[in-house]
């Protein structure tokens, strides 16, 4: 049983960590959340059917991220700038020139910072859909919201993200 759990944990840990990372923007917090989710998975996994594992993981991860954000009392604010953002962003770009790659990486870092300022639940839906490539139905199941709500919130989330980026640009220029 332990072996099966280990396989499951190994299979899903990056998914959990990535989601927590983009929600919280802090490696230590994202690791804490991942660790807690995996411990809870161990306690519950005998009760979970295989197809329900991923929605369950996302549901629990999101709740723990929200708890963490509440504890910090920075629910909507930038938590911590990612000092390694530019280095860690391995943007999958076809851009041939180093200049274009740097530009893409800068854009990625800006988007990441802006994403953290998008309020919940829009942020989660944008992360799950755009970064983690979940289907609408899977997001609806994980967040326990109707399918249509996911679609509407995704549009709003993307728009809010663009608004934040615009604000960041205008703050930088003013």
């Amino acid at each position: 049983m332990q072996q099966v759990f280990e396989q499951m944990a190994a299979r899903h840990r990056d998914r959990i960590f990535t989601y927590a990372w983009y929600c919280l923007g802090d490696r230590d917090d994202a690791e804490d959340v991942t660790q807690e989710v995996l411990v809870r998975l161990w306690r519950h996994w005998a009760l979970l059917e295989e197809p329900k594992v991923v929605p369950w993981l996302i549901h629990v991860t999101r709740n723990l991220c929200i708890d963490t954000m509440r504890r910090r009392k920075t629910h909507r604010g930038v938590i911590k700038d990612d000092p390694e953002g530019l280095v860690m962003n391995q943007v999958a770009s076809d851009a041939p020139s180093p200049g274009a790659r740097v530009e893409a990486a800068e854009m990625g870092a800006r988007v990441e910072r802006a994403l953290r300022q998008v309020p919940e639940p829009y942020r989660s839906i944008v992360i799950l859909r755009e970064i983690q490539d979940f289907k609408y139905e899977e997001i609806a199941a994980a967040l326990e919201v109707p399918l249509n709500t996911v679609k509407v919130y995704l549009h709003r989330g993307r728009r809010k993200l663009r608004d934040r980026l615009r604000e960041m640009v205008s703050d930088a220029t003013s």
Binding site: E31, V39, L47, M88, V91, R110
Partner: protein, 202 residues
């Protein structure tokens, strides 16, 4: 001018940008956005920016979780599942699995799946009640049964039947409460009343 021919405002196009890029806009609406974009540089820039943000978002990488996390999880689980002093506590997952098995058995016992068994269980419960009440009123000691006792007994039978229905519904089964009431609760209540009436006559 038909609504479909009305030019869209910039504000409206901004609202529709995401749906436009998703290609989820229906043909005529999409054509109106296209028509607006031809003559509006600001909205073209809006669409281009939305596309750029979307591309950047999709290029954000998955993050690799450190092995330390798994190690810590192992340590925590080992500590949590370590036997308490003198005890031999089973691992949490084993306890959870056992609890699940018991819940499943209880559900099966309380709520048989077959439509034939549902009324059968109800009738069996009613029969047990009737026999119980009968045994109670025919016990060797002399008792006085009043009409209030009869009413109370009927009420109790109906309550038990209603609870069976609720438990079954709670377990996720569809329960025809009207059928349960008419075919199970009413006859059982009448049977109890009959027994008590006989007792009064005697």
């Amino acid at each position: 001018m038909r609504r479909a021919d009305t030019p869209l405002s910039c504000g409206r196009v901004k609202v529709l940008v995401e749906a436009y890029l998703d290609e989820s806009l229906a043909g005529p609406r999409r054509a109106r956005v296209d028509a607006h974009l031809v003559g509006c540089e600001a909205c073209r820039a809006e669409v281009a920016q939305a596309l750029q943000v979307r591309t950047a978002l999709r290029a954000l990488p998955w993050r690799a979780c450190s092995d330390v996390v798994l190690e810590t999880v192992r340590t925590r689980l080992a500590a949590a599942d370590a036997p308490a002093s003198g005890g031999n506590r089973k691992p949490a997952a084993v306890r959870a699995a056992a609890a699940q098995e018991w819940t499943r058995r209880l559900q099966e016992w309380l709520v048989p799946r077959s439509s034939v068994w549902k009324p059968a269980v109800g009738l069996a419960a009613a029969a047990v009640l009737v026999v119980g009440v009968y045994a109670f009123v025919h016990r060797p000691t002399e008792i006085q049964v009043t009409p209030q006792d009869m009413q109370r007994a009927e009420g109790q039978v109906r309550w038990v039947m209603a609870r069976i229905g609720q438990i079954s519904q709670h377990a996720g089964n569809k329960v025809r409460t009207d059928v349960l009431e008419k075919r199970v609760a009413d006859p059982a209540a009448r049977a109890v009343s009959g027994v008590l009436e006989d007792n009064i006559r005697q």
